[in-house]
């Protein structure tokens, strides 16, 4: 390998909306620079060119929902020096993981007239359930500045710098008055990773958890607060059943709420 060789970037898609990989094309000011530093070796949404692996950095969007995809992710891992998952689908199974709480066969018949034509797994699962993941970039969708930071960090051989605090902290940093305290609005800000810039509270609505559960969160306490603000049990279940419904923290809390636990702490 010569020192002047450009690092190879590959972008892969599984079950998803394409929005996280689109974030790369949405870097209008930086795209041509990124393309001059990296070799875009495999990125079906953007190019017909397909260069063979191995790849220095693979960005993986989407969750695993079919037997074929459960195989394909292993091939991609073998071809990739670093593998970074981008977005809530790849990190936690996405909104399509709502099937995990129900009977998938009933879902198939609700949508398709001939269920026998459909090949799908009972559960939508994150990439890390199948292969080793070097870094998980959060968001639904991811933030493009964070994406550029991750790409840069891997080029420089260092750990990406992304915030480890919650949306709550971001609100304080930007001076947004707390919507839960001042208006009684339900908000997932205390338990959700920062990254969006605390967008929703600045638009007069509560956070609905796009960036997924922060590490070591107290979801039970938040659920009790929600109950004390008049949020019904079914709405408390749904609050944790969004784009990161199958993440450990949110799954356990939604199931606890479904069983009616924990409300007496309010």
């Amino acid at each position: 390998m010569s020192k002047t060789r450009k690092p190879k970037l590959a972008v892969w898609k599984f079950a998803s909306c394409d929005g996280c990989q689109l974030s790369l094309l949405d870097c209008e000011d930086e795209l041509l620079t990124v393309a001059s530093i990296l070799e875009i070796a495999n990125f079906a949404e953007a190019t017909r060119t397909v260069l063979k692996g191995p790849y220095d950095l693979s960005l993986v969007e989407g969750s695993i929902t079919t037997p074929h995809d459960a195989e394909r992710i292993h091939q991609i891992r073998r071809m990739s020096k670093h593998l970074v998952t981008i977005g809530a689908c790849a990190n936690a199974g996405g909104i399509q993981a709502l099937r995990n709480f129900r009977d998938v066969n009933e879902f198939i018949s609700a949508v398709y007239a001939s269920p026998e034509f459909i090949s799908t797994l009972a559960k939508s699962t994150p990439i890390s359930d199948h292969v080793h993941v070097d870094f998980e970039l959060r968001g639904c969708p991811i933030d493009k500045k964070q994406l550029l930071e991750v790409v840069q960090a891997f080029l420089q051989g260092r750990k990406p710098r992304t915030p480890a605090h919650s949306v709550c902290v971001e609100c304080k940093l930007r001076g947004t008055v707390c919507v839960m305290v001042s208006k009684g609005m339900p908000c997932l800000g205390p338990v959700t990773y920062a990254g969006c810039g605390a967008l929703c509270p600045s638009y007069h609505r509560g956070c609905f958890g796009c960036f997924g559960p922060k590490e070591t969160v107290n979801t039970a306490s938040l659920a009790a607060w929600l109950a004390s603000h008049g949020v019904s049990r079914i709405d408390r279940v749904d609050a944790f059943r969004g784009f990161s419904a199958w993440s450990d923290a949110f799954r356990k809390e939604s199931e606890a709420q479904e069983r009616g636990e924990g409300v007496e702490h309010a």
Binding site: C17, A46, I118
Partner: protein, 430 residues
């Protein structure tokens, strides 16, 4: 008997996973299939039981390229069920938001997914090495579109500001003023893009399509109007199901749509343009004419120019809206939950997007039905491929494969909405 198989691998520069199968016999196409492998995600199933205010945030996740379309069709359908009408400046702001999505989506497709085909490049990055000005201009237009979505919607992908009844927060005057400057700066570039795409080499293909689009009495359509066609269809949106039917075929995870009386139809820029041509401002009609387009365009490859005409329109319409804007009293109209059934249809960049919801007295979804534009175009795409292959028997396998891919890309198919993986099998029997 001679059998030939050509494999393309992934269909590049589309959004999603699809495959292509073409078998010819004696110069005639015996079979054409656009296979759709994109894994099903079951939105219509898991929307059941969700509260109405969650719906636009959830349906946005069907597509990262056109989330505004999903949000607009769903809020209009829910408002129809609730008996709420959003008018005046809130309606104008919704049109402004939609302008932003048309600009970013159309420019992405025209210059990053479609134009490289005509000029013989694998992608826009390679194109930019020889033609930097074209790509840099496209990036500025795309950024302007995204800027509208960010200012009005909160962020470019999966906006957070769309609400049943209107918006969560109104844009600030200073934000709109900044937007106006950005749009003025790219207006001439959009006109130049119309003229430039008119000079591209277009493969020959003219098809007598059944065009279907929304038509509004006084404006080029976004969210309102009647569903009309060039063959006499003229119905209110709520009668959609009486005239269109979804069919589940084995080779596709996206349901195919047909007219109930049989037959494929065409949705998207060419259909909108044909059915609403005189509603475009004179400046847009003049630019189209200068690029060689009449009031009707039946060559699907020329859709790139029609997308640029619509981009110019969206920029001018956005400037008009900002110039007349006066902040309304409240960011939204109150909508109390009540039982009902509602229909909504809006013009996504790729064509009509129909939603129907039944909700209960608590405002929870009982049933959801969503028909994306790419499902509606699948059958027409197959028919185009059939016509194209028969008309161009002289092309070698490599040329034919590339041009068949290009014929699919004419539709800017959003396979995530409806479908990612194109494999061309060309079997020849002689």
């Amino acid at each position: 008997m001679r059998n030939k198989t050509i494999k393309v691998g992934y269909l590049a520069r589309v959004e999603g996973e699809g495959g292509l199968y073409i078998r010819t016999k004696g110069g005639k196409v015996a079979d054409v299939k656009l296979n759709i492998f994109e894994p099903p995600r079951f939105f219509e199933a898991f929307l059941r039981g969700r509260f109405m205010h969650e719906v636009p945030d959830i349906t946005a996740r069907i597509c990262g390229i056109c989330p505004v379309a999903y949000q607009m069709s769903s809020v209009h359908a829910l408002e129809d069920a609730l008996g709420v009408k959003v008018t005046g400046q809130l309606r104008e702001l919704r049109r402004l938001l939609y302008c932003g999505e048309w600009i970013e989506s159309h420019v992405l497709h025209a210059f990053f997914l479609h134009a490289p085909d005509f000029l013989g490049y694998p992608d826009a990055i390679q194109l930019s090495k020889d033609h930097p000005k074209i790509v840099e201009s496209a990036l500025r237009m795309k950024k302007a579109g995204n800027e509208i979505v960010r200012v009005v919607g909160g962020r470019e992908i999966h906006p957070i500001n769309v609400r049943v009844g209107g918006f969560y927060r109104l844009p600030k005057r200073a934000e709109l003023a900044g937007l106006r400057e950005t749009l003025l700066a790219v207006r001439d570039e959009a006109r130049a893009a119309v003229l430039f795409t008119g000079t591209l080499p277009f493969p020959e293909l003219e098809i007598d399509y059944h065009f279907v689009a929304l038509r509004h009495e006084s404006e080029y359509p976004f969210c309102e109007g009647r569903l009309v066609s060039n063959r006499g269809l003229d119905i209110p949106i709520r009668e959609y199901n009486d005239h269109f039917v979804e069919i589940h075929v084995e080779h596709s995870n996206a349901l195919h749509s047909e007219m109930r009386d049989g037959g494929a139809y065409f949705v998207g820029p060419l259909a909108r343009y044909h059915l609403n041509h005189e509603l475009l401002p004179a400046s847009c009609r003049e630019a189209a004419a200068a690029a060689g387009l009449g009031p009707t365009c039946r060559n699907p490859f020329r859709s790139i120019t029609v997308r640029c005409v619509e981009t110019l329109y969206a920029i001018e319409e956005a400037i008009r809206i900002i110039d007349q804007y006066q902040a309304p009293d409240a960011p939204f109209v109150e909508a109390s939950p009540c039982a009902g059934i509602g229909h909504g249809c809006s013009e996504a960049p790729r064509g009509i997007l129909y939603h129907r919801y039944a909700i209960d007295e608590d405002g929870r979804v009982r049933e959801a039905k969503i028909v994306p534009p790419t499902s509606q175009n699948q059958k027409t795409i197959e028919e185009d491929l059939r016509a194209f292959v028969e008309k161009h028997p002289h092309l070698n396998d490599e040329q034919l494969t590339w041009q068949c891919e290009q014929a699919v890309r004419n539709y800017d198919p959003c396979i995530s909405c409806a479908t990612h993986f194109l494999r061309l099998h060309r079997e020849e029997e002689s």
